[in-house]
């Protein structure tokens, strides 16, 4: 009897001890990428040391599955505490009651470049903490410019020049003047939005009205149609990174791409330049699409408060600067500051990526982001393949978008 009692007590004690770690609240983090960034690794360790009861447990998930994993977990009722998500999904998550607001103070908002906070704002509330920003600029191949008889030090500044230069390159060298990507892929829409935002266009206004059927967006679509004959053959077969590979192979005159292309062009030994995105006839200033990723804090994880605290901790300027410093990742700085000033002074090619922010626009927030994206891709592809005229494609898209706003 004594033996049984003893064994039971030992069993209970063991069960109690093994259960103890489970009582500590973990902040699970769905982290997108191939590996944990060195800066994040360092500061997570620092946080964990200071918060033994609120340990951050990152789970690295590849980019292709990351968004779906976070969404599926949340929809199944077992959400991660935090997930690295495209800011474009925040409205959908918020309306589905899956995430909690992460309000910013005026001081926090003011620290960011203009228009950044708007990418995470819906109904006057912030629903995520920006952690990554991507902007685009125009790269050109100086050797191809020279071969086509163009001034290799004078890139285009307007759409009209861009189309004209693309035509000249195509006719004089037989190579593609421009790298237009239009595959059934998310960045086909992103590439087009860069044109929209360099002509003061909009897709949806602050009141949630679809305003895509405007002269500004029509001009962008018309420019797409005009530049297609001088682009890589069959643009609907290529997405942005596949087009970049062709550019790095010296087969394209001009390409709009992120800052990471600069590092790759250097590696490839190209004679290249990078400048502001050319402007449309209605532009008010330099523009770009601003794609941000954010840390969203999910509801019902049980550690929402601590998760918000951690999200702000891991995106504070000191950490963010270290994260962005690995320039090859292609991230544009989120906040101005001495580190950015130094970066611009040391590596001047960063300038157009930062300058475009002032008149840049966010990825439009829709209740069904994929539905919105599909409509935009269909619109672009129909114009690029010649199956629809720009105005007809625009009108059709405007009607279809009403369902997803």
């Amino acid at each position: 009897m004594n033996i049984i009692l003893k064994r039971s007590l030992i069993g209970l004690a063991l069960a109690g001890t093994t259960a103890l770690p489970a009582l500590a609240a973990d902040i699970s983090w769905i982290y997108c990428g191939d590996r944990l960034d060195a800066a994040h690794e360092k500061y997570i360790a620092e946080w964990n040391a200071a918060n033994p009861d609120d340990q951050v447990k990152p789970e690295v998930v590849g980019w292709a599955q990351c968004q779906d994993k976070a969404t599926t977990l949340a929809a199944a009722g077992s959400p991660a505490a935090i997930a690295y998500v495209g800011s474009r999904t925040l409205k959908e998550f918020a309306l589905s009651d899956l995430i909690v607001p992460v309000p910013m103070t005026d001081e926090e908002k003011a620290a960011y470049y203009p228009n950044i906070v708007e990418t995470v704002t819906f109904d006057d509330t912030q629903w995520g903490v920006p952690i990554a920003l991507s902007t685009k600029a125009l790269y050109w191949n100086k050797d191809l410019f020279k071969e086509a008889g163009l001034d290799p030090e004078k890139p285009p500044t307007t759409w009209a020049e861009e189309i004209e230069y693309a035509k000249t390159i195509k006719e004089k060298t037989g190579k593609a003047g421009y790298g237009l990507s239009a595959k059934t892929f998310d960045n086909t829409m992103h590439q087009f939005l860069h044109w929209v935002y360099t002509n003061d266009g909009k897709i949806i206004d602050a009141e949630g009205n679809i305003v895509i059927d405007s002269p500004q967006v029509l001009a962008a679509l018309q420019a797409y149609k005009d530049i297609t004959p001088y682009s890589v053959e069959g643009p609907t077969a290529y997405e942005q990174n596949e087009m970049r590979a062709i550019f790095l192979d010296g087969q394209i005159g001009m390409l709009q791409a992120a800052v990471s292309t600069a590092f790759l062009a250097e590696e490839a030994g190209m004679n290249w330049g990078v400048t502001d995105l050319p402007l449309g006839p209605d532009a008010k200033g330099k523009g770009t699409l601003m794609i941000t990723d954010s840390l969203a804090v999910f509801k019902d994880s049980g550690v929402e408060e601590k998760a918000i605290e951690f999200a702000k901790y891991i995106t504070q300027p000191k950490v963010q600067e270290e994260y962005e410093a690995a320039g090859a990742a292609g991230l544009t700085p989120l906040r101005p500051g001495p580190a950015v000033d130094k970066l611009l002074a040391d590596q001047s090619f960063w300038k157009p990526f930062v300058d475009g922010i002032e008149f840049g626009g966010p990825e439009p927030l829709f209740t069904d982001y994929k539905g919105f994206q599909n409509v935009m891709i269909e619109m672009v592809q129909s114009v690029v393949t010649g199956s629809a005229e720009p105005q007809a494609a625009l009108t059709k898209a405007a009607g279809a978008l009403e369902e997803y706003k």
Partner: protein
């Protein structure tokens, strides 16, 4: 009585794991999908019953086009697999030197992980760096690079060709096995009577292989109808939805747009089609067995 009862208990005990497995892995998801198809399930936490609305919504022009496209895609893919597989089996069955080597060489499309094989085809279809476009240009058949995945018509056939490439080895090996089971003396007798190769193939090989051909066709039909990876990796259903089949459309609706209710309704429609194929398959095999016995 006791013995028969214990035998029955023993039989059920042996069957229990399999029954449990089928209930959890097959039956429950099917029932749940069917239930979901009558709801507006999405990311929202509240789900409402919506009756037949999802079914009413999906049977529009677009989905009917997608259904038609799926059948055309499946038909040509299965047909080509059967024809090429049969030709391959005949060649591998012939007494040619190096036959064993050829048999081994048939296998790579089957051995290579499917995703890698598909990516390889993606590169071959590439207009700028792709082998096919390069060869066509070298032989002067085209003026410049041709991006096969850029246009609806070429992308549609490109996905079929890739599916055929992946599916042919299995068909070939299956047909080869069936061919080798045909008694040799039938051929010898026909040869003695002066029958040509073609006559021997038409009068002996084909009739005796018909059970294998029908079985393989039906199995291939079911697998091809549900083929997802090839189209998704190569085109994601584009350009302009020209390679979107039912399974792609279902994935885009349920997982892409997170309209789980509508996606489930589409999945139920696929399930109905596949069930019909299965019924046809079982009926045909039953008839074949009956004929064989007779």
């Amino acid at each position: 009585m006791n013995r028969s009862r214990s035998a029955m208990i023993f039989a059920w005990a042996l069957l229990a794991p399999a029954i449990l497995y089928v209930l959890i892995i097959v039956a429950w998801p099917l029932v749940e999908t069917f239930r979901l198809s009558f709801t507006d399930a999405s990311l929202r936490k509240v789900t409402n019953y919506v009756g037949w609305r999802n079914y009413g919504r999906i049977f529009n022009d677009t989905f009917l086009t997608v259904i038609g496209r799926t059948f055309v895609w499946t038909f040509f893919s299965v047909l080509l697999k059967m024809i090429i597989g049969m030709c391959g089996a005949v060649l591998l069955n012939a007494a040619v030197p190096g036959r064993n080597l050829f048999r081994i060489l048939t296998m790579p499309p089957w051995i290579v992980p499917m995703a890698i094989g598909i990516f390889m085809w993606g590169w071959m279809y590439n207009g700028q760096f792709g082998m096919i476009s390069g060869l066509l240009q070298r032989f002067g058949l085209v003026d410049g690079p041709v991006a096969f995945l850029a246009y609806g018509s070429t992308a549609f056939w490109a996905t079929i060709v890739t599916d055929v490439w992946i599916g042919v080895p299995m068909v070939t090996i299956y047909f080869l096995a069936a061919m080798q089971a045909i008694p040799k003396d039938l051929y010898e007798a026909a040869w003695t009577d002066g029958a040509s190769r073609w006559t021997r193939f038409r009068r002996i090989t084909l009739p005796l292989m018909s059970p294998a051909i029908i079985t393989m066709s039906m199995l291939s039909l079911i697998a091809t109808f549900n083929s997802f990876d090839i189209i998704w990796i190569l085109t994601r259903g584009g350009p302009s939805g020209e390679t979107t089949t039912m399974i792609i459309d279902t994935y885009q609706t349920a997982i892409g747009s997170k309209k789980y209710g509508e996606g489930a309704a589409r999945a139920v429609v696929i399930c109905i089609f596949l069930s019909l194929f299965c019924i046809a398959y079982f009926r045909i095999t039953r008839r074949l067995h009956a004929t064989e016995k007779a």
